[in-house]
Symmetry: C3
Subunit: 204 residues, 3 copies
């Protein structure tokens, strides 16, 4: 189940990332690279930090074909995708919670402490988008937009909470994914934002 | 001793990084992430490059609480911090030399050659600031401002020099930290800069 | 042979990168760091992703001296280098194909699947330039300019194709390097570009 959702999520992430790349007039190679980095970069960053080798996409190179295919499809069908914008916002939210739960699971399997498990979920969930923004030369949206990392943290907390209560990883995945997904959709709909810290140093 | 200075240094780095994030109107999540990356990113980058696992903050997740706490405190006390600007410049200089010495020690423990030991010190000392500037979408200050990487290189050279003279790591740490710290403070006070390489290509 | 070409290539990459850094008024430390990252960053990124330790330049710290020396020489001789611009474009193309072939070889030695071998070549060939552009706060040129990643991909494909035909790594290296090199030079001369994906979202 989680595996199927993962495939759907990396495809959707790759497709929306391809549009971001198109907004910056990148060529097709750039579009494919941005798509792969966005879809698979969070997990790659997590694996590098945890020293957890090999990378998912090196063990399963077919994932690269899926994300590259998604990117090319998105570029060809850009006008259609505009109409499906809402669906892709949903799929992006799905990706966030699925990646987060996978990130938590991997850190748990490595018997890491709770704080690192949660962080592993956040890095997996949000890292791809941060890498995309760095490559596109933007300030990462993550640090400025609606509850994104917060939804990831929440998903991880619920997931770990249910596991500690003894309900097993399957129930935890389903419930955490559902709550995190709804939280993210509500945040988009009502434009929930984390409080901003605005600091102006007059003397500079 | 070095351990206590390390805790002070990561807290101070996290606090000044939080103000940088505030200048870019980031939300609280962004502020905490920027603070952790700045304080712990140099060591993380060094460990990734040296293949030295696990990360310090994965073995000691409490460091993440220290840096996150520092970031939140800095955001809440921003108006007070403005008055303490000088102290934070000092603490930043302290962080630079402490991180550098720790970076050198770790590379020495891995029996790496001198050049790599010095570079490990520079990466540990300066890497966090470079990562912060990349995430904030700036050209890394390191490459443009007062003797920063140079102070780190100097600290490493003195440290290694004293060890090769046979005075032991403790004496080397104290003396190298003191000289590097003073060098950095003098560089700030008198605005010492490394010569710049200004290159204008007319034909482009 | 490949080893000698590698030394020439990292020197040339370091020299052109130093000029990039000079265009951004970086100081000498910044110039040297940008040069080393550009020349050695692609291989470093590849090794981190493949979990292939130690880094080339940690096993051979003399490479750092070569790239730093190249950077300083380029800065001192900037006015001469302007006249040699064509030669450096050729050397850059040489670097691209040499790095690509080395990247493919390393992934092959690790018995990785074909897709990853090709990607390892591309990361090695293009990664340094991407890191340089991130540090200089540009959108990576790779994603916008003449057939660069494509030339790398092509070189890798020819290299692997010849090996699969059973002609041995030596013949494959020579032929793939020659074809990739000529392809890249033709792309520069005739300004060949990959088709761009231009996407304007009216509703944003």
């Amino acid at each position: 189940m989680l595996h199927i959702l993962y495939i759907i999520a990396i495809t959707a992430e790759a497709m929306t990332a391809a549009l971001s790349a198109g907004r910056r007039n990148m060529d097709w190679v750039g579009v494919c690279i941005i798509a792969c980095v966005t879809a698979l970069g969070g997990g790659t960053l997590r694996n590098i930090i945890l020293g957890h080798y090999p990378m998912t996409w090196i063990a399963h190179p077919e994932y690269l074909l899926v994300t590259t295919g998604g990117a090319i499809a998105a570029a060809l069908l850009a006008s259609i995708m505009k109409k499906l914008r809402l669906i892709f916002l949903w799929l992006d939210a799905l990706g966030l919670v699925v990646f987060t739960i996978i990130g938590c699971q991997i850190a748990m399997d490595l018997h890491l402490p709770l704080l690192i498990v949660l962080l592993s979920g956040i890095i997996t969930g949000c890292g791809g988008g941060v890498l995309r923004d760095i490559l596109c030369n933007d300030i990462p949206l993550l640090f400025r937009k609606e509850i994104y990392a917060t939804a990831s943290l929440f998903t991880g907390l619920i997931y770990m909470g249910i596991i500690y209560l003894g309900y097993g990883m399957h129930a935890a995945s389903v419930i955490a994914a559902a709550i995190g997904f709804i939280l993210r959709l509500l945040a988009i709909k009502y434009n929930w934002q984390m409080p901003k810290f605005v600091y102006q140093e007059e003397l500079e």
